[in-house]
Amino acid sequence: MIYIISHGRPHNQRTYNLLRQCGYTGDIKVVVDNEDKTMIEYYKELEADDRAEVGVFKKQEMIDCTDTGIREPMRNFAVFARNAVEQDAMGTHKLFWVFDDDLTSFRLRFVDGDSLRSMKITHSLDKIFKLMEDYVSSTPIATLGFGTANNYMSGVKSIEKESSKFRMCYNGYLRNSQYPVEWSLNMCEDRITSILQNKVGNVWLQLLCLQIDTLPIGGLIEGGNSDVYRNMDKFHQVFFPVMTSPDCNYTKYMKDKWFTMYDEKTMCPKIISSKYKER
């Protein structure tokens, strides 16, 4: 089962279209909240697809049971939908996928001589997802994510670094329901929850040979939470990760903008081979 979390974009379902175009034939549930004024439009958009449905969650209920970190939560953020998905999937699916609604491509990243190249996935998603599911089923991995554009900025070096340090699951991931999770904080919940979960020994990992691309945050496409990001000062966006894990997150002011940085050494426990264990 694939969950796509969405808001206000019934006629611009990029992830849904991409999944079907790239050969995914399985079930899809597009998850929207009951405060979404375009909710009815989602049903119309998906009615022709027998294997797609709309799932509606009660936003206030999810706000009430989510640790947002602030007294008056901002309502239009993905953390509530992520937690609604967790509740829906638990006890029903051993494994489940979750994607944002604005994905633009899946790509294989590979080294070709001295260059880091990519190849778009055009129709093999079913087979690739099955392999990833088999992998997660046979290991204690709680969440398996993909690489994102930032991970490949060093070219060939990016993909050949010791990959245990890549532990953030953003925009799209495969979850193992054996390891329940509550997504935390009003925004940056993907980064924050990845760090918090890894810190307590749950394995969240990125598969670097696969990259997912999305539209830029706060970009031109309407719906989602673009408007919130466009109107919010950057300081608020960088503050949440520091508040939750001040041991590894810090802020930096560069070129008139605030950024959250993290120290990989202090972020989460290392994965090491069991051969180092004394018998």
């Binding site: 041991d247 050494k265 081979s273 180092y276």
Partner: protein, 131 residues
């Protein structure tokens, strides 16, 4: 010791073309236990708390809060684990200070998965190179 024949990544930014597995390779050298945690910010906060006029109960709470600023260096902790006694290792595992990859299932599976995906891409026609 045979376990440490694999070359350590000396710095976190170094890389080797062969290493792609999601496992950290501990150092041959056992770090000093004092180096595993950076106490700087924590000590400063504790000093401020101790010198403050707030109640003992409040001080107790603030000290717990200050522990959030202890910076655990997980690379050095993994290095230490590899040289620690059995009892110490077990206690470190209980605290999730390292994550043990039992029989290298995560690492081997990761390499196989990456290779299998590449094979699929090469044989099914998803061949549009775009970068």
């Amino acid at each position: 010791m045979a376990l440490f024949e694999i070359a350590k990544n000396e710095a976190d930014e170094t890389y080797t073309r062969k290493t792609q597995v999601p496992q950290y390779v501990p150092s041959k050298t056992k770090p000093h236990i004092d180096s595993l945690v950076d106490y700087k910010k924590y000590s400063q906060l504790i000093r401020n708390i101790n010198e403050s006029g707030v109640s003992e109960e409040e001080k107790k709470f603030l000290r717990f809060g200050a522990s959030r600023h202890l910076m655990f260096n997980y690379s050095l902790i993994a290095d230490y684990y590899a040289h620690a006694s059995k009892e110490m290792q077990e206690l470190m595992e209980q605290s999730a200070l390292v994550i043990l990859d039992i029989d290298d299932a995560i690492a081997n599976g990761y390499v196989k998965l990456s290779s299998d995906i590449e094979k699929i891409m090469n044989t099914t026609g998803d061949r549009t190179k775009d970068a």
